[in-house]
Protein backbone atom coordinates (compact mmCIF):
# COMPACT_ATOMS: atom_id res chain seq x y z
CA UNK A 1 0.00 0.00 0.00
CA UNK A 2 1.40 3.29 -1.05
CA UNK A 3 0.23 5.41 1.84
CA UNK A 4 2.29 7.89 3.74
CA UNK A 5 1.39 7.25 7.39
CA UNK A 6 1.75 10.31 9.58
CA UNK A 7 0.25 9.93 13.03
CA UNK A 8 1.95 13.12 14.18
CA UNK A 9 -0.47 15.25 12.17
CA UNK A 10 -3.25 14.33 14.57
CA UNK A 11 -1.29 15.89 17.43
CA UNK A 12 -1.05 19.20 15.63
CA UNK A 13 -3.55 21.97 16.07
CA UNK A 14 -6.27 22.43 15.04
CA UNK A 15 -6.70 18.68 14.32
CA UNK A 16 -6.02 17.56 17.89
CA UNK A 17 -8.64 20.06 19.09
CA UNK A 18 -11.14 18.87 16.47
CA UNK A 19 -10.83 15.28 17.67
CA UNK A 20 -11.43 16.31 21.28
CA UNK A 21 -14.36 18.49 20.38
CA UNK A 22 -15.77 15.63 18.28
CA UNK A 23 -15.43 13.27 21.23
CA UNK A 24 -17.18 15.82 23.46
CA UNK A 25 -20.15 16.07 21.10
CA UNK A 26 -20.34 12.30 20.70
CA UNK A 27 -20.57 12.00 24.49
CA UNK A 28 -23.18 14.77 24.75
CA UNK A 29 -25.35 13.30 21.98
CA UNK A 30 -25.07 9.77 23.39
CA UNK A 31 -25.95 10.81 26.93
CA UNK A 32 -28.69 13.21 25.86
CA UNK A 33 -30.41 10.72 23.60
CA UNK A 34 -30.01 7.92 26.15
CA UNK A 35 -31.69 10.03 28.84
CA UNK A 36 -34.60 10.65 26.45
CA UNK A 37 -34.65 6.99 25.36
CA UNK A 38 -34.78 5.74 28.95
CA UNK A 39 -37.46 8.13 30.16
CA UNK A 40 -39.68 7.77 27.11
CA UNK A 41 -38.97 4.04 26.86
CA UNK A 42 -39.80 3.34 30.50
CA UNK A 43 -43.01 5.36 30.29
CA UNK A 44 -44.11 3.72 27.05
CA UNK A 45 -43.09 0.27 28.30
CA UNK A 46 -45.21 0.70 31.42
CA UNK A 47 -48.06 2.13 29.36
CA UNK A 48 -48.00 -1.02 27.18
CA UNK A 49 -48.60 -3.12 30.32
CA UNK A 50 -51.28 -0.92 31.92
CA UNK A 51 -54.70 -2.47 32.40
CA UNK A 52 -56.24 0.21 30.16
CA UNK A 53 -56.89 -0.38 26.48
CA UNK A 54 -56.61 3.26 25.35
CA UNK A 55 -53.25 3.80 27.05
CA UNK A 56 -51.95 0.52 25.60
CA UNK A 57 -52.92 1.56 22.09
CA UNK A 58 -51.24 4.97 22.31
CA UNK A 59 -48.03 3.33 23.51
CA UNK A 60 -48.17 0.65 20.80
CA UNK A 61 -48.62 3.23 18.05
CA UNK A 62 -45.57 5.16 19.28
CA UNK A 63 -43.47 1.99 19.51
CA UNK A 64 -44.44 0.61 16.10
CA UNK A 65 -44.01 3.92 14.27
CA UNK A 66 -40.67 4.83 15.78
CA UNK A 67 -38.95 1.50 15.64
CA UNK A 68 -40.00 0.81 12.07
CA UNK A 69 -38.74 3.97 10.37
CA UNK A 70 -34.98 4.05 9.70
CA UNK A 71 -33.33 6.36 12.25
CA UNK A 72 -31.60 8.31 9.49
CA UNK A 73 -34.96 9.06 7.88
CA UNK A 74 -36.33 10.03 11.29
CA UNK A 75 -33.52 12.54 11.77
CA UNK A 76 -34.24 14.10 8.36
CA UNK A 77 -37.95 14.21 9.12
CA UNK A 78 -37.36 15.95 12.43
CA UNK A 79 -34.81 18.35 11.02
CA UNK A 80 -36.23 19.28 7.64
CA UNK A 81 -39.93 18.35 7.62
CA UNK A 82 -41.20 18.70 11.19
CA UNK A 83 -40.63 22.51 11.48
CA UNK A 84 -42.57 23.01 8.23
CA UNK A 85 -45.60 21.17 9.58
CA UNK A 86 -45.88 23.38 12.64
CA UNK A 87 -47.72 26.70 12.78
CA UNK A 88 -45.51 29.29 11.09
CA UNK A 89 -44.41 31.11 14.23
CA UNK A 90 -43.35 27.94 16.02
CA UNK A 91 -41.60 26.53 12.94
CA UNK A 92 -39.74 29.76 12.48
CA UNK A 93 -38.74 29.76 16.14
CA UNK A 94 -37.28 26.25 15.79
CA UNK A 95 -35.38 27.14 12.62
CA UNK A 96 -34.14 30.51 13.78
CA UNK A 97 -34.17 30.89 17.57
CA UNK A 98 -33.88 27.41 19.05
CA UNK A 99 -30.36 27.29 20.51
CA UNK A 100 -28.25 24.59 18.89
CA UNK A 101 -31.06 23.09 16.76
CA UNK A 102 -28.85 20.32 15.33
CA UNK A 103 -28.05 19.04 18.81
CA UNK A 104 -31.65 19.20 20.02
CA UNK A 105 -32.88 17.47 16.86
CA UNK A 106 -30.19 14.80 17.16
CA UNK A 107 -30.97 13.83 20.75
CA UNK A 108 -34.74 13.98 20.25
CA UNK A 109 -34.59 11.97 17.02
CA UNK A 110 -32.15 9.34 18.27
CA UNK A 111 -33.76 9.31 21.72
CA UNK A 112 -37.26 8.64 20.39
CA UNK A 113 -35.97 5.89 18.09
CA UNK A 114 -34.08 4.16 20.91
CA UNK A 115 -36.99 4.86 23.27
CA UNK A 116 -39.31 2.69 21.18
CA UNK A 117 -36.82 -0.18 21.41
CA UNK A 118 -36.27 0.37 25.14
CA UNK A 119 -40.05 0.35 25.64
CA UNK A 120 -40.35 -3.10 24.09
CA UNK A 121 -37.56 -4.41 26.30
CA UNK A 122 -39.14 -2.95 29.43
CA UNK A 123 -42.48 -4.47 28.44
CA UNK A 124 -40.85 -7.85 27.88
CA UNK A 125 -39.04 -7.65 31.22
CA UNK A 126 -42.19 -6.76 33.13
CA UNK A 127 -44.20 -9.43 31.32
CA UNK A 128 -41.56 -12.04 32.09
CA UNK A 129 -40.96 -11.44 35.77
CA UNK A 130 -43.35 -8.89 37.18
CA UNK A 131 -46.83 -8.76 35.73
CA UNK A 132 -48.14 -11.76 37.71
CA UNK A 133 -47.54 -9.68 40.86
CA UNK A 134 -49.90 -6.92 39.73
CA UNK A 135 -53.07 -8.40 41.29
CA UNK A 136 -51.24 -8.95 44.60
CA UNK A 137 -49.93 -5.39 44.59
CA UNK A 138 -53.34 -3.95 43.70
CA UNK A 139 -54.96 -6.08 46.39
CA UNK A 140 -52.93 -4.25 49.04
CA UNK A 141 -54.43 -0.97 47.88
CA UNK A 142 -51.53 0.27 45.75
CA UNK A 143 -52.60 2.27 42.71
CA UNK A 144 -51.54 0.82 39.32
CA UNK A 145 -48.80 3.42 38.80
CA UNK A 146 -47.46 2.81 42.32
CA UNK A 147 -47.42 -0.93 41.68
CA UNK A 148 -45.38 -0.39 38.50
CA UNK A 149 -43.01 2.11 40.09
CA UNK A 150 -42.37 0.19 43.30
CA UNK A 151 -42.49 -3.43 42.17
CA UNK A 152 -42.95 -4.28 38.50
CA UNK A 153 -40.51 -1.76 36.99
CA UNK A 154 -37.60 -2.54 39.36
CA UNK A 155 -38.06 -6.24 38.61
CA UNK A 156 -38.48 -5.72 34.87
CA UNK A 157 -35.41 -3.45 34.64
CA UNK A 158 -33.25 -6.03 36.38
CA UNK A 159 -34.45 -8.74 34.05
CA UNK A 160 -33.51 -6.85 30.88
CA UNK A 161 -30.31 -5.24 32.05
CA UNK A 162 -28.24 -7.07 29.41
CA UNK A 163 -30.35 -6.00 26.41
CA UNK A 164 -30.51 -2.45 27.82
CA UNK A 165 -26.71 -2.33 27.90
CA UNK A 166 -26.62 -3.30 24.21
CA UNK A 167 -29.21 -0.63 23.51
CA UNK A 168 -27.06 2.01 25.20
CA UNK A 169 -24.09 0.85 23.08
CA UNK A 170 -26.14 1.12 19.91
CA UNK A 171 -27.17 4.63 20.93
CA UNK A 172 -23.52 5.67 21.37
CA UNK A 173 -22.65 4.39 17.90
CA UNK A 174 -25.84 5.77 16.39
CA UNK A 175 -24.76 9.25 17.51
CA UNK A 176 -22.52 9.24 14.41
CA UNK A 177 -25.48 9.58 12.03
CA UNK A 178 -26.20 13.00 13.48
CA UNK A 179 -23.34 14.24 11.26
CA UNK A 180 -25.92 14.19 8.46
CA UNK A 181 -27.73 17.11 10.03
CA UNK A 182 -24.52 18.97 10.75
CA UNK A 183 -23.35 17.78 14.17
CA UNK A 184 -19.55 17.90 14.32
CA UNK A 185 -19.17 14.81 16.42
CA UNK A 186 -16.31 12.31 16.31
CA UNK A 187 -17.02 10.77 12.90
CA UNK A 188 -17.69 14.16 11.33
CA UNK A 189 -14.48 15.57 12.74
CA UNK A 190 -12.51 12.61 11.40
CA UNK A 191 -13.88 13.28 7.93
CA UNK A 192 -13.10 16.92 8.45
CA UNK A 193 -9.46 16.07 9.23
CA UNK A 194 -9.30 13.86 6.17
CA UNK A 195 -10.48 16.71 3.98
CA UNK A 196 -7.88 19.07 5.34
CA UNK A 197 -4.86 16.75 5.64
CA UNK A 198 -5.54 13.69 3.45
CA UNK A 199 -4.68 11.62 6.53
CA UNK A 200 -8.12 10.10 6.91
CA UNK A 201 -6.90 6.62 7.77
CA UNK A 202 -5.14 7.90 10.90
CA UNK A 203 -8.10 10.00 11.91
CA UNK A 204 -10.59 7.17 11.40
CA UNK A 205 -8.29 4.72 13.15
CA UNK A 206 -8.27 6.99 16.20
CA UNK A 207 -12.04 7.42 16.00
CA UNK A 208 -12.46 3.64 15.80
CA UNK A 209 -10.35 3.10 18.90
CA UNK A 210 -12.22 5.86 20.75
CA UNK A 211 -15.61 4.29 19.89
CA UNK A 212 -14.29 0.95 21.10
CA UNK A 213 -13.08 2.46 24.37
CA UNK A 214 -16.38 4.29 24.83
CA UNK A 215 -18.25 1.04 24.29
CA UNK A 216 -16.09 -0.83 26.74
CA UNK A 217 -16.58 1.93 29.34
CA UNK A 218 -20.34 1.76 28.91
CA UNK A 219 -20.24 -2.02 29.34
CA UNK A 220 -18.07 -1.65 32.44
CA UNK A 221 -20.31 1.03 33.89
CA UNK A 222 -23.46 -1.04 33.33
CA UNK A 223 -21.77 -4.04 34.90
CA UNK A 224 -20.96 -2.01 38.03
CA UNK A 225 -24.59 -0.83 38.23
CA UNK A 226 -25.81 -4.41 37.73
CA UNK A 227 -23.54 -5.64 40.53
CA UNK A 228 -24.67 -2.88 42.84
CA UNK A 229 -28.43 -2.87 42.21
CA UNK A 230 -29.29 -5.51 39.67
CA UNK A 231 -30.07 -9.16 39.50
CA UNK A 232 -26.37 -10.01 39.86
CA UNK A 233 -26.63 -9.07 43.54
CA UNK A 234 -29.31 -11.72 44.01
CA UNK A 235 -27.54 -14.32 41.90
CA UNK A 236 -24.55 -13.92 44.22
CA UNK A 237 -26.58 -13.89 47.41
CA UNK A 238 -28.57 -16.99 46.61
CA UNK A 239 -25.73 -19.12 45.30
Amino acid sequence: MNYNWDWGVLLQQPYWGWLWSGLGWTLLISLGSWVIALSVGISAGIARCMPNRAIQIVASVYIEVFRNIPPLVQLFLWYFVFPELLPDALGLWIKRDLPNPEYVTAIVGLGLFAGARVAEQIRAGIAAVGIHLLPAALATGLRPLQAFRLILLPLGLRAVFGPLTSEFLITVKMSSISLTIGMLELTAQSRHIENYTFHGLEAFAVATVVYLLLGLSVTGLMRVIDRRFGAAKYRRASS
Binding site: H132, P135, T140, L155, S238
Partner: protein, 242 residues
Protein backbone atom coordinates in the same frame (compact mmCIF):
# COMPACT_ATOMS: atom_id res chain seq x y z
CA UNK B 1 -69.96 -7.42 55.45
CA UNK B 2 -69.54 -8.89 51.96
CA UNK B 3 -72.65 -9.08 49.81
CA UNK B 4 -72.62 -10.63 46.33
CA UNK B 5 -75.80 -10.24 44.35
CA UNK B 6 -76.50 -12.09 41.10
CA UNK B 7 -72.92 -12.02 39.78
CA UNK B 8 -72.40 -12.88 36.10
CA UNK B 9 -69.00 -13.09 34.47
CA UNK B 10 -67.75 -14.40 31.12
CA UNK B 11 -64.29 -14.69 29.67
CA UNK B 12 -65.01 -14.35 25.97
CA UNK B 13 -67.66 -16.98 25.24
CA UNK B 14 -66.97 -18.98 28.38
CA UNK B 15 -69.39 -18.12 31.11
CA UNK B 16 -67.63 -18.66 34.44
CA UNK B 17 -70.17 -17.19 36.87
CA UNK B 18 -73.92 -17.56 36.32
CA UNK B 19 -75.84 -15.55 38.84
CA UNK B 20 -73.98 -16.09 42.11
CA UNK B 21 -75.58 -14.65 45.23
CA UNK B 22 -74.00 -14.96 48.65
CA UNK B 23 -73.12 -13.01 51.77
CA UNK B 24 -70.47 -13.13 54.47
CA UNK B 25 -71.43 -11.57 57.79
CA UNK B 26 -69.11 -9.69 60.11
CA UNK B 27 -66.82 -12.11 61.94
CA UNK B 28 -67.97 -15.06 59.89
CA UNK B 29 -65.72 -17.63 58.20
CA UNK B 30 -67.13 -18.93 54.94
CA UNK B 31 -65.40 -21.67 52.95
CA UNK B 32 -65.97 -21.86 49.20
CA UNK B 33 -65.34 -25.28 47.69
CA UNK B 34 -66.07 -27.14 44.51
CA UNK B 35 -64.32 -28.87 41.62
CA UNK B 36 -61.67 -27.16 39.50
CA UNK B 37 -63.13 -24.73 36.99
CA UNK B 38 -66.27 -24.20 39.03
CA UNK B 39 -65.61 -20.45 39.31
CA UNK B 40 -64.49 -20.27 42.96
CA UNK B 41 -61.32 -18.27 42.32
CA UNK B 42 -63.09 -15.94 39.92
CA UNK B 43 -65.81 -15.34 42.48
CA UNK B 44 -63.40 -14.41 45.26
CA UNK B 45 -61.42 -12.12 42.94
CA UNK B 46 -64.61 -10.23 42.15
CA UNK B 47 -64.98 -9.28 45.79
CA UNK B 48 -62.15 -6.72 45.70
CA UNK B 49 -62.63 -5.83 42.05
CA UNK B 50 -59.55 -7.63 40.71
CA UNK B 51 -61.91 -9.28 38.23
CA UNK B 52 -64.50 -6.89 36.81
CA UNK B 53 -67.95 -8.44 36.54
CA UNK B 54 -70.47 -8.24 33.71
CA UNK B 55 -73.67 -8.04 35.73
CA UNK B 56 -74.76 -7.97 39.35
CA UNK B 57 -73.58 -6.01 42.34
CA UNK B 58 -71.04 -6.39 45.12
CA UNK B 59 -70.76 -4.40 48.30
CA UNK B 60 -68.15 -4.65 51.01
CA UNK B 61 -69.02 -3.02 54.33
CA UNK B 62 -71.70 -1.02 52.54
CA UNK B 63 -69.38 0.29 49.79
CA UNK B 64 -70.17 -0.74 46.23
CA UNK B 65 -67.30 -2.47 44.42
CA UNK B 66 -69.05 -2.20 41.08
CA UNK B 67 -69.85 1.51 41.22
CA UNK B 68 -67.58 3.45 38.82
CA UNK B 69 -67.16 6.25 41.35
CA UNK B 70 -65.84 3.99 44.10
CA UNK B 71 -62.17 4.52 44.90
CA UNK B 72 -61.18 0.88 44.33
CA UNK B 73 -57.61 1.14 45.68
CA UNK B 74 -58.95 2.63 48.93
CA UNK B 75 -61.49 -0.17 49.19
CA UNK B 76 -58.94 -2.88 48.42
CA UNK B 77 -56.70 -1.54 51.17
CA UNK B 78 -59.41 -2.61 53.63
CA UNK B 79 -59.66 -6.16 52.30
CA UNK B 80 -56.67 -8.44 52.74
CA UNK B 81 -56.02 -11.02 50.06
CA UNK B 82 -53.83 -14.13 50.03
CA UNK B 83 -53.05 -15.88 46.75
CA UNK B 84 -52.36 -19.47 45.81
CA UNK B 85 -48.81 -18.70 44.64
CA UNK B 86 -47.94 -16.28 47.49
CA UNK B 87 -47.02 -13.49 45.01
CA UNK B 88 -44.40 -11.99 47.30
CA UNK B 89 -42.11 -9.32 45.86
CA UNK B 90 -38.92 -11.31 45.13
CA UNK B 91 -36.52 -8.35 45.32
CA UNK B 92 -37.56 -7.40 48.85
CA UNK B 93 -37.05 -8.94 52.27
CA UNK B 94 -39.96 -10.37 54.25
CA UNK B 95 -40.03 -7.19 56.30
CA UNK B 96 -40.05 -4.94 53.22
CA UNK B 97 -42.80 -7.04 51.65
CA UNK B 98 -45.00 -6.41 54.68
CA UNK B 99 -44.06 -2.74 55.08
CA UNK B 100 -44.42 -1.58 51.46
CA UNK B 101 -48.16 -0.92 51.28
CA UNK B 102 -48.24 0.47 54.82
CA UNK B 103 -45.75 3.13 53.73
CA UNK B 104 -47.26 3.91 50.32
CA UNK B 105 -50.96 3.42 50.97
CA UNK B 106 -51.46 4.08 54.70
CA UNK B 107 -48.64 6.69 54.66
CA UNK B 108 -47.03 5.29 57.79
CA UNK B 109 -43.41 6.25 58.38
CA UNK B 110 -40.87 3.54 57.61
CA UNK B 111 -40.12 3.08 61.32
CA UNK B 112 -43.81 2.78 62.20
CA UNK B 113 -44.44 0.37 59.34
CA UNK B 114 -41.43 -1.79 60.15
CA UNK B 115 -42.47 -1.99 63.82
CA UNK B 116 -45.94 -3.14 62.79
CA UNK B 117 -44.46 -5.60 60.28
CA UNK B 118 -42.24 -7.11 62.97
CA UNK B 119 -45.30 -7.64 65.18
CA UNK B 120 -47.20 -9.30 62.35
CA UNK B 121 -44.31 -11.50 61.28
CA UNK B 122 -43.96 -12.57 64.92
CA UNK B 123 -47.66 -13.38 64.94
CA UNK B 124 -47.21 -15.76 61.99
CA UNK B 125 -44.12 -17.26 63.65
CA UNK B 126 -41.45 -15.68 61.44
CA UNK B 127 -39.58 -13.34 63.81
CA UNK B 128 -36.30 -14.90 62.75
CA UNK B 129 -36.90 -14.35 59.02
CA UNK B 130 -37.36 -10.57 58.85
CA UNK B 131 -34.46 -10.02 56.48
CA UNK B 132 -34.86 -13.15 54.38
CA UNK B 133 -35.90 -12.77 50.77
CA UNK B 134 -38.74 -14.95 49.45
CA UNK B 135 -36.40 -17.34 47.63
CA UNK B 136 -34.73 -18.12 50.95
CA UNK B 137 -38.02 -19.16 52.53
CA UNK B 138 -40.00 -22.38 52.25
CA UNK B 139 -43.45 -22.31 50.63
CA UNK B 140 -45.19 -22.38 53.98
CA UNK B 141 -43.05 -19.53 55.27
CA UNK B 142 -43.70 -17.51 52.12
CA UNK B 143 -47.43 -17.97 52.48
CA UNK B 144 -47.25 -16.85 56.11
CA UNK B 145 -45.35 -13.71 55.03
CA UNK B 146 -48.08 -13.08 52.51
CA UNK B 147 -50.72 -13.41 55.24
CA UNK B 148 -48.75 -10.89 57.31
CA UNK B 149 -48.62 -8.59 54.28
CA UNK B 150 -52.40 -8.76 53.92
CA UNK B 151 -52.87 -8.14 57.65
CA UNK B 152 -50.55 -5.13 57.57
CA UNK B 153 -53.34 -2.97 56.18
CA UNK B 154 -55.53 -3.74 59.22
CA UNK B 155 -58.20 -5.17 56.93
CA UNK B 156 -61.88 -5.51 57.77
CA UNK B 157 -62.03 -8.85 55.97
CA UNK B 158 -59.64 -11.37 54.47
CA UNK B 159 -59.92 -13.29 51.19
CA UNK B 160 -57.96 -16.51 50.72
CA UNK B 161 -57.67 -17.98 47.23
CA UNK B 162 -56.54 -21.60 47.63
CA UNK B 163 -53.83 -20.59 50.12
CA UNK B 164 -52.47 -24.11 50.59
CA UNK B 165 -52.83 -25.58 47.10
CA UNK B 166 -49.26 -24.77 46.05
CA UNK B 167 -47.68 -26.09 49.25
CA UNK B 168 -45.90 -29.32 50.05
CA UNK B 169 -48.20 -31.43 52.24
CA UNK B 170 -46.03 -31.01 55.32
CA UNK B 171 -46.31 -27.23 55.11
CA UNK B 172 -50.05 -27.06 54.80
CA UNK B 173 -50.71 -27.18 58.51
CA UNK B 174 -48.47 -24.28 59.50
CA UNK B 175 -50.50 -22.06 57.17
CA UNK B 176 -53.87 -23.47 58.26
CA UNK B 177 -52.93 -22.90 61.90
CA UNK B 178 -52.24 -19.23 61.23
CA UNK B 179 -55.58 -18.95 59.45
CA UNK B 180 -57.38 -20.73 62.26
CA UNK B 181 -55.85 -18.33 64.80
CA UNK B 182 -57.08 -15.43 62.69
CA UNK B 183 -60.57 -16.87 62.61
CA UNK B 184 -60.55 -17.29 66.38
CA UNK B 185 -59.62 -13.61 66.68
CA UNK B 186 -62.89 -12.82 64.94
CA UNK B 187 -61.61 -11.95 61.45
CA UNK B 188 -64.21 -12.02 58.68
CA UNK B 189 -62.90 -14.55 56.18
CA UNK B 190 -63.85 -15.91 52.78
CA UNK B 191 -61.69 -18.92 51.97
CA UNK B 192 -61.49 -20.85 48.71
CA UNK B 193 -59.93 -24.18 49.63
CA UNK B 194 -59.95 -27.93 49.17
CA UNK B 195 -58.98 -28.43 52.81
CA UNK B 196 -62.17 -29.98 54.11
CA UNK B 197 -60.58 -30.53 57.53
CA UNK B 198 -60.11 -26.77 57.83
CA UNK B 199 -63.70 -26.21 56.75
CA UNK B 200 -64.95 -28.65 59.38
CA UNK B 201 -62.88 -27.08 62.15
CA UNK B 202 -63.14 -23.40 61.35
CA UNK B 203 -65.90 -22.51 58.90
CA UNK B 204 -69.37 -21.42 59.92
CA UNK B 205 -70.80 -21.89 56.47
CA UNK B 206 -69.80 -23.67 53.29
CA UNK B 207 -70.57 -22.57 49.75
CA UNK B 208 -70.39 -25.34 47.17
CA UNK B 209 -69.90 -24.26 43.55
CA UNK B 210 -70.07 -26.10 40.27
CA UNK B 211 -70.37 -24.83 36.71
CA UNK B 212 -70.32 -21.19 37.79
CA UNK B 213 -73.26 -21.54 40.15
CA UNK B 214 -73.51 -21.70 43.91
CA UNK B 215 -75.33 -25.01 44.33
CA UNK B 216 -75.23 -25.07 48.09
CA UNK B 217 -74.97 -22.46 50.83
CA UNK B 218 -75.39 -24.17 54.17
CA UNK B 219 -74.12 -24.21 57.74
CA UNK B 220 -71.06 -26.42 58.00
CA UNK B 221 -72.67 -29.23 60.00
CA UNK B 222 -75.49 -29.55 57.52
CA UNK B 223 -73.18 -29.44 54.50
CA UNK B 224 -70.97 -32.26 55.72
CA UNK B 225 -73.70 -34.42 57.24
CA UNK B 226 -76.44 -34.01 54.74
CA UNK B 227 -75.71 -32.00 51.58
CA UNK B 228 -78.85 -31.09 49.72
CA UNK B 229 -77.60 -31.63 46.15
CA UNK B 230 -76.42 -34.82 44.57
CA UNK B 231 -73.44 -33.01 43.01
CA UNK B 232 -72.19 -31.88 46.43
CA UNK B 233 -72.64 -35.39 47.81
CA UNK B 234 -70.47 -36.83 45.00
CA UNK B 235 -67.84 -34.15 45.58
CA UNK B 236 -67.73 -34.87 49.30
CA UNK B 237 -67.35 -38.62 48.88
CA UNK B 238 -64.43 -37.99 46.57
CA UNK B 239 -62.57 -35.44 48.71
CA UNK B 240 -63.32 -37.00 52.08
CA UNK B 241 -62.50 -40.58 51.11
CA UNK B 242 -58.72 -40.19 51.34
Amino acid sequence: MIVLNDIHKSYGRTQVLRGCTAAVKLGEVVVVCGPSGSGKSTLIKCVNGLVPIDRGSITVDGVSVTDKHTDLPALRAQIGMVFQNFELYPHMTALQNVSLAQIHVLKRSRAEADARSEQLLARVGLSSKLSSRPDQLSGGQQQRVSIARALSMDPKAMLFDEPTSALDPEMVNEVLEVMQALALDGMTMMVVTHEMGFAQRVAERVLFMDGGEILEDSPKSQFFANPSTERARQFLTKVLSH
